[in-house]
Symmetry: D2
Subunit: 332 residues, 4 copies
């Protein structure tokens, strides 16, 4: 497990943020050992065989909040073993405190994780200094572990100003960011002096790659577990377009995936999405038929019928598109 | 430790929410065993000797977020031992998940705590159903433990509508609420059919007691650790006023405590307070000179100079008022 | 029309905030002269005959936003003529700028209005200094006109801190406030040194009067146009209770009105209410059958069926309660 | 003044949003005729001679809120006369109501304006339907006037979802949008079926043009009144880059302007900017030395010293950059 510490250049291509597969009954308030370790191993292996470039886990949709520490360790162990070092694997170690995050980050590194997808402690909304100090404290205590800043303004109640990126870019372990939107992407690339790879979601990768073709070379996707070929194909079409200047096929793929994703956005927009985030993602994944994510753990077990149906349609649509990519009919 | 389960009538008088005393160096990211157990025991005993009616702990200012589980257990053990059953003791067991909260709630009950001051899991903003189910799940799993709903809209991103109180009032273990403001107090008392004792902060107790003299008979205070006589006196003056109809002395005490508290409110109002909450409370407690709360744990270690000074003035002013109460000069 | 300038002591009892009656077709984007002046005069007279103590107008529900300046003047003229100086009449003169508000305030004073119910310019969220300067500028330019601070944090994007009340209390013309909630009522009464009469909504009057029986002697009501006897009776029962100490009848009235009001609060709470405020109030008034408020003017013409039904039930329920008060069965 | 109605293809290149020049004393609450009409004419002519492609006015920084209707008409008359039809001129007609906006829009059309930069009525936060109906009502009543949707989520409390753009795109008069950010630009271009030209601010034009080189061919700038050559040069360098594929010079210009703009962003971010928006923009313009914007009108007259200095530095820096462009040293 003595892998090298990752650097900026290791972050490229299509990264998948995977759910933590749950066994039947995982939504019981007294359940234990809820992780489906077989499905974990199968999914990790299948993602890598499908050609994805990296895997992240244990964020919001990975149920970092609601898994026990024992379960997280079992999950990471199974995933790392299945990955066999073929692609980087990041395990989220977000907790409510600096000290607990350090402890968990050290432990997942020992289990073989390459990095952590790390959000801020969320009890109180942090200041700029608290936020930067947090990442620096973790980096100092875990020098060999790569850090992906999990930048979710809504969940962590922090707005990630340019000054934040300028300061965390000085921390060598901070090499990438799970990023939302591209509204401030160029600002933040400038602020970080290109020391941080900002990964937009697959829907935004087309725009990011056009704006910054040389630097924006990686993205994340949650929907990919409904069929990873959609994102590996997006990665490859964008790469071709960079050379040829013809972006039509990349745009077609991007728009198709965006249309599929729009199906699972609730009518109330992002504020409503934030409430049902976990359930929506798991319902989409299950409907995709490519992996079995199982039920959402408590207290995030509620999903109103209308939202459930949207998520299911979204997963099915994604699966259809992935099939079209697989059988060569998508661009036909 | 086989104490009876508390009921509504056990919640009366002046309740103190105490900080978790921290040893020197507790603000180090690698610190361990940071709880000052001697100061814990001393503070609990002194509060009870001063005549407070109950103690709550391990909320926001009690650093529930940033203490390790081992530290929390050590703290609860020391506090319970010092209390010797003389007053009820609540230990906060807020975590990011239903299952972990159940585990912690069972454990603190075994350690002798009477109840939990319990906030909602905060990663995603909960819906009404998620919130009610959470309290019901915990109550079902911990039938002997009293629950104080820790109602902080800002921290837990939930607005506690009347329907929430109507539904949690059906759960027998939910007997009180740590409540903020009195703007919806009568609405919520009605909604809960008087099955829940809503504890306003000491600043709001005067108003609450006048509005609902028969039912609003308890309150909480964080400032009380700068000198508990201010709140025991407030309790007693309000009790007298209920009988005599002369509320002047109660009002004078209430206004004096409010003026002292106003000194530690930052210029940016509650939004800014929420960022520096822990540090402000600990600085105030330390400046009061009545207990040693020690430093704030990471990541909440930052406190700008202006805010620190405000907190210190607030603690000193509170201590002066408590001294005036003690020596009988306050009403002179 | 040379009435004296009002002072604090003129603000007492039950104040009604009335809609601006609209003629059929007033919701047409090209409509002109949309005010039903006959219904205006009839309503004002009937309110006064029913015993209300003051009338406010041209706030949010009075469609200050969507009436033309010509229409506002016609409305104020008709209302003042109907009132014949029997009770004070306030006309809202909120606009987007200090200068236009001064012009309108001078004009409505010439038309005979005693005061203005005045909100802040709302294009940009104001600072404390901008807010205080605004009220001071208007007062300086209109020295004979009483000012009721229209304190709506949501509409005017200002949070009305204690410092605001302390500063506007120094302006002689600022004698009262249309106030929401009672969470900070005692704080603000203290801050203003009792120079401003804070009028809570009828639902909060019971609580306010108990907290501050000597000073909280006035309130506002929008629902009163579904049957004013509910609020005159509330005023009288509270007055009796102040003397006897028996608050049961006042509480019963207050709770009944609050239950009727709750029927028109949308499921989404205050945020949703704010969107449909005008339409909800007009639908409630129309369903009450006591006055004809007519349709809501554009762009606030939309009211989803579910919300319309709630508003109608609320108005009908209020009308039933008012009838019970009138015929003496309410307390039977 | 019988100009043709503009269409999508008329919206291209560098558009300037200009302040409304204020005479000395315009910040007095009793001031009248505050518009400096000579400076208005001089500025409009100078912008056109400098090569800008269109002019917008009477938005937030143009003090739509705080100018009287007489002043607005005088301003529009002077501006139209100075423009002599050489470039399109849009006059903001945002008010608090549909009917008043229709009246103003008709009037500015008669005065010769080509279009309106139009925000939503802002007293209540509008729903999707209210917002779409508003633009449709105005368009129906003013069929020859082009509409630029003034999309400012903070000021107008509306989040402009994809469904909004899909629906207003069906209104022929809606041909462009004053747009903030590029985070949802591709989504909204898709939703509107390319019937609406979205104008990002100059800082975002580089990114927008790279993402959508064929369609994103126009942008707006407020800073341009510190030296318009910076934006005409940006327009030209982007146009060249589209052909050559070499975007280095465009990026250098864009980054330099963004760095100058960053100087006038307050430490509190956009929330603080929104409070001081008018004063900041006018201070920047005045410091640029290219035009005389005069003082900010009430109630937006306050600008703390630190923010004033930032705005002045920003204006001076912009002016230096514009000088470097003029004298050919910028790319040297």
């Amino acid at each position: 497990m003595s892998r090298n510490t990752l650097s900026l250049d290791d972050i490229r291509g299509a990264w998948v943020i995977m759910p933590t597969p749950a066994r039947e009954g995982a939504d019981d308030p007294l359940a234990r050992d809820t992780v489906d370790l077989d499905e974990t191993a199968r999914t990790v292996d299948a993602l890598i065989q499908a050609g994805v470039d990296g895997i992240m886990s244990l964020g919001t949709l990975g149920e970092c909040a609601t898994l026990s520490w024992d379960e997280k360790q079992a999950f990471v162990g199974a995933a790392v073993e299945a990955a066999r070092g073929r692609v980087p694997f990041f395990a989220g170690t977000t907790t409510l405190s600096t000290r607990e995050t350090i402890e968990h980050t050290r432990a997942v590194r020992k289990l073989g994780a390459d990095g952590t997808m790390l959000g801020l402690p969320m009890w109180c909304p942090p200041t700029l200094r608290m936020a930067v100090d947090f990442y620096r404290d973790v980096a100092n205590a875990c020098p060999e572990t790569a850090i992906c800043v999990y930048a979710n303004a809504e969940a962590f109640r922090f707005d990630y100003p340019a000054a934040f990126w300028a300061q965390v870019a000085e921390i060598p372990q901070v090499i990438c960011a799970k990023y939302l939107g591209i509204g401030t992407l160029l600002r933040d690339i400038n602020a970080s002096k290109r020391r941080i790879r900002f990964l937009p979601v697959n829907n935004d990768y087309y725009g990011a790659a056009r704006m910054e073709p040389d630097f924006c070379t990686a993205f994340w996707s949650g929907g990919a577990v409904c069929g990873p070929e959609l994102v590996t194909s997006l990665r490859d079409e964008v790469a071709k377009a960079r050379g040829t200047g013809d972006w039509q096929r990349a745009r077609k793929l991007s728009d198709a995936a965006a249309a599929a994703s729009a199906l699972f956005m609730p009518p109330g927009g992002f504020a409503e999405f934030a409430r049902y985030n976990v359930g929506l993602e798991k319902a989409r994944a299950n409907a995709g038929g490519w992996m079995n994510a199982g039920p959402a753990r408590r207290p995030y077990h509620e999903l109103p019928t209308g939202l459930l149906e949207g998520a299911q349609k979204s997963g099915q649509r994604w699966a259809e598109l992935a099939q079209q990519v697989r059988d060569g009919t998508f661009f036909a």
